[in-house]
């Protein structure tokens, strides 16, 4: 763990990634402290100051009802990260279990599980999430549900492939021969050897989940106002381009920095943990 961090910080590119991720995570955690107008995350209206360009008081300008954009972006990070963490916390265990069971047991079980996974994979992710959100009410919880539904199959695929390779390893046979049961072999022998790849993918995905969630709310299917969300902020401002550029550019940049940061760290982790087979 410590060694990984040292290597991460030694490379300028991944150090930059760590910096970005740390900024995003810390600002989300400390939002209440660092933000100038904490009350602006809700349904506040201040028409005297609406649509102001960046100034000393409002470093990123104000939106169409006069709320401080910087404050809203920081709070949006909090929601995005929460969404990302929850989605992965649900999707990864499901995908990993499906992949392990299918890869290790093989036969009919594998056939059913992997074809089911293929069905999910065959639908373009955004389309799948959109149709789920279209049926359900657009709330934060349902948004998480929709993104989770499209996310687990990728982990099933990843872990399935890793398991197929691992099950031919000597130590798997050795464990079987020394009397280990099937559940034990899957979760205690094979799974720990897949962890580097899973962790790497999770780091990369945290950025992508934020992106997808933003896309959904850009289309009006995600988190609903007045809850701040990067995607809907971009959408709201898009009609006022290029004159009120700050309405779109700052939330857009915020998405970019988060995705870019997680990507840099994920890529670096892949190399450090040797997960790129």
């Amino acid at each position: 763990m410590k060694r990984t961090l040292v290597i991460l910080l030694r490379n300028p590119l991944s150090a930059f990634g760590v910096l970005l991720v740390a900024t995003v995570v810390l600002s989300a955690l400390l939002a209440d402290v660092i933000v100038p107008f904490p009350e602006h995350r809700g349904a506040v209206v201040d028409f005297a100051n609406f649509n102001q360009p960046p100034s000393a008081q409002h470093p990123m300008g104000t939106d169409l009802v006069g709320r401080d954009l910087f404050s809203r972006i920081v709070y949006a990070y909090r929601i995005s990260l929460l969404l990302g963490v929850v989605v992965l916390a649900i999707a990864v265990p499901i995908g990993v279990t499906v992949g392990l069971v299918a890869g290790y047991l093989g036969g009919r079980v594998e056939y059913v599980l992997m074809r089911l996974t293929d069905v999910f994979l065959s639908i373009p992710p955004l389309v799948l999430a959109m149709s789920i959100m279209g049926v359900l009410e657009p709330t934060l919880i349902n948004g998480m549900l929709a993104v989770t539904a499209m996310w687990w199959p990728w982990y099933a695929r990843l872990v399935y492939n890793l398991t197929r390779a691992e099950r031919e390893e000597g130590y798997v046979l050795a464990a079987e021969v020394l009397g280990a049961g099937r559940v034990w072999v899957m979760f205690r022998e094979i799974l720990p050897n897949c962890v580097p790849s899973i962790v790497t993918k999770m780091t990369l995905d945290l950025g992508f989940v934020i992106l997808i969630a933003s896309s959904l709310s850009f289309l009006g299917l995600g988190v609903q106002p007045p809850t701040p969300d990067l995607g809907s902020m971009v959408a709201d401002g898009a009609t006022y381009l290029p004159d009120s550029w700050w309405l779109t550019v700052f939330p857009g940049l915020a998405i970019l920095l988060a995705v870019f940061g997680f990507n840099l760290v994920g890529d670096a982790l892949r190399e450090i943990l040797g997960a790129d087979q």
Partner: protein, 296 residues
């Protein structure tokens, strides 16, 4: 059933069902091993040695597409009549196995001690961490590892192949199995370590009273180690007999061919050097024409 042989195979047949029909792999293997006996199964690659071992361990029985007929009895109990769970329960307790490449047979993410504790715990679920460690240390001491504490805290990749082999032997015999299957043990190791391993294994199986099914293509090793030998060829047992008799008067053509095929590496050793001067004894001296041209 005390007089039942430790392992009894009667007319064991194995076929794999594939897309192109059924491929027969074993055409009726019969062999037996009594308690404490060391029996070798010898044959070339692809003759069916390892697959026989897998059936004995009950690893192929659950595989779809594998058709197994005939009897496999371990200590008198018919494997085919047992549930999958009961077969799993036999492994690691009544029978176990050691492998060609000991380093890959140990999980890279766990310390040796952790893996050892697990093996012991399968036979005795109530064993405490401390007791398991003490028992593991005692077992490692038996296989001539004299600093068990260091080895138990190490990962497999931190130990040499020979060390790992000894750890595997200790682990395989930890629960005093009746039957130990050795599938070309140590083929992945160099010959000196292999020889050590064999000596160690001989002593260990004697101490633990285990019968051994020794699978190999190396006749030299078999001659050293086994009491009796079965020769397997294309999924059939073509000859069997006590080691000495079989090596003195091989009857089947295949056995003779197999013996003729043994490479004679141990023959003359390094041939005498034609010249031996004082310069030969001075290893630091560079001889003209031997080093890289730039080095001079």
């Amino acid at each position: 059933m005390t007089d039942a042989p430790t392992l009894l195979l009667r007319d064991l047949r194995l076929a794999f069902r594939g897309y192109t029909g059924v491929t027969e792999v074993l055409h009726g293997i019969s062999l037996h091993i009594r308690a404490g006996e060391r029996v070798a199964l010898v044959g070339e690659s692809g003759s069916g040695k390892s697959v026989t071992a897998r059936i004995v361990l009950g690893l192929l029985q659950d595989q779809r597409g594998a058709r197994i007929t005939g009897q496999v009895r371990v200590e008198g109990r018919d494997l085919a009549a047992m549930s999958r769970r009961a077969r799993v329960a036999l492994r690691g307790r009544r029978m176990s196995m050691i492998f060609q490449d000991p380093t890959s047979a140990l999980n890279p993410v766990y310390r040796i001690g952790t893996q050892f504790t697990e093996v012991l715990r399968r036979a005795d679920p109530a064993i405490t961490e401390r007791a398991a460690r003490a028992r593991a240390a005692a077992l490692l001491d038996e296989v001539a590892i004299h600093d068990p504490a260091r080895v138990l805290d190490a990962y497999a990749f931190q130990l040499s192949g020979g060390m790992n082999q000894r750890v595997m032997i200790a682990m395989a015999l930890a629960n005093n199995p009746a039957l130990l299957i050795a599938d070309e043990p140590g083929t992945a190791l160099d010959v000196t370590v292999q020889a050590q391993t064999l000596g160690l294994m001989r002593r260990m199986v004697a101490d633990h009273g285990a019968a051994v099914l020794f699978i190999s293509h190396n006749l030299g090793v078999v001659r050293e180690f086994a009491d009796r030998v079965y020769v397997i060829y294309k999924g059939r047992i073509v000859e069997h007999g006590p080691t000495a008799a079989l090596f003195d008067t091989p009857r089947h053509a295949y056995t003779r061919a197999l013996m003729a095929a043994v490479p004679r590496i141990t023959g003359g050793g390094i041939p005498d050097l034609p010249e031996r001067d004082d310069a030969f004894a001075a290893p630091m001296e560079l001889h003209p024409g031997v080093a890289e041209p730039e080095a001079t």
